[in-house]
Amino acid sequence: MSEVLISAEKLTKKYDDFLAVDNIDFQVFKGECCGFLGPNGAGKTTTIKMIHCVLPLTSGELTVAGMNVSESPREIKKMIGVAPQEENLDPDFSVITNLLVYSRYFDIPGEDASGRAESLLKFAQLEDKRNVQIDQLSTGMKRRLILARALINEPRVLLLDEPTTGLDPQGRHLIWDKIRSLKKQGVTIILTTHYMDEAAELCDRTLIMDNGKIIELGKPAELVKKHVGEDVLEVDYDPDVLKFLQERFPEARLETAGERIRVFTDQPHGVFEDFLKDFPTKGATIRNANLEDVFLKLTGRQLRE
């Protein structure tokens, strides 16, 4: 791929005796959308905060557009837009004033600022909410305003930390459309998310983190192929069914978790259909393997809290 925009080498972040980010290397290319996936506490947000220069590194090297985050935080922050996971819009101001006050932090001159704020209101479909106070907005509107605010400095790099958490499907799809249109404009995007369909939909490459380390990196479709194969058969747990499946598909990976049996195969489509004709099991479903299967296979099913 093309030019490297963000580069991390042996990047480490340590809090007292907890290693939040453990000696990771990665590169993000200009113009791509790179997904950072991982269970809670994997180190995604910590990595993002180091990229936008608000968390100092413990060790290693991190550069954005060739500039070192420890040496040129102001220059880097000028070219980055951040939509944080935690809503931090200014509740003391209205929607439009949030954008205007934020533009002042970036030294954007007044006339430019109001022009940009107007077009961002339109972009975020918040034109009729311009004078509304922040606490009157719905979750979806707040997320859109956070995205709009992140764009006020016309950033080259956009860091989106769980941009759709808590949104209804309409709200999510609207944000997805916006992210796609930004990508088309050439903005480099780092996206963290817990929704694997979102990552598969939007990301050119995904990077899976766990316990502060990067455990896998690649294009979503390739990762699916590599780790889980083509098709998945899911059926309710039953010892007889399990035994039968093991005999019938000795080469496939079988997983029993909770009350479900899952069979993963990398054989061409159709093997499960044939099987179901011979053995009509109630409630069995056949579906395509997806990124969520990859994620659960690599990071396990144990809760991280």
């Binding site: 809090y15 936008h52 608000v54 968390l55 100092p56 935080p73 102001r74 922050k77 000028k78 980055i80 951040v82 944080p84 935690e86 809503e87 931090n88 819009l89 200014d90 509740p91 003391d92 101001f93 004033t97 006050v101 934020y102 002042r104 932090y105 970036f106 030294d107 400095n153």
Partner: protein
Amino acid sequence: MKTPDARAKILQLPKLSYRTWKVWRRNLDVFMKTWKVNFFPPLLEPIFYLAVLGTGLGFYIGSSIEGYSYTQFIAPGIVAITIMYSSFFECTYGSFVRMYYQKTFDAIIATPISIEEVIAGEIVWGATRAVIGCGIVLAVVAAFGLISSPLFLLILVVAFFSGLLFSALAMCFTALAPSIDFFNYPQYLFITPMFVLSGTFFPVTKLPETIQIFAQTVLPLTHTVNLTRWLMFGRSEISIFESVLWIAIITPFFFVLAVNLMKRKLIK
């Protein structure tokens, strides 16, 4: 665990740029949005004090206290208390709410503004609140006909520098506060003693000697009251030079300490 390195960092001089003013401006904008609420109620407080304490209590005190009428005596005290309250509460409760509940600081440091500039901007804003509050009370005091020195406008300068000191002290408490309830400690153990012991309602020189020394060496309000009284009537209990020097030395120290303590709290 304090290494020499960590100790040095706590007194490191912060690097500040013009961006400090952008933080100050944000707070000014919020203040001006509700200017009616911010200007008129503070007008009432000094009126109550002057009317109730000055005339009521003053009646029993008789003609003079160190050569002042009682109303005259407490007027500088009320001005100084306003300076203290406006700045101290702005940078304890006000800053804590912006930092912890509103996440305003997090939002600002994602822009080219640094955390040092955010904290400095907050402290300078606290001092500005002191000037505004002081101006309101001075207007009331003047309306009561209680000012006899033309130097009284310089009290606004005293308000700014004392306000810086109280804001910096407040910001140190904010940096140490695990929750907003923590502010009960400085409020009752620091602010309230100053309210009564700093020459506000009776002369410091009438206190037992150890408390006098305590009031002059530890309580900033003593010096604010002293300077205010001098600028209002041209007379003072404690040397003016001592008060100016005291504020000039203590203020930069706590300003730097506050910025670094907050930085340590917010940037892990």
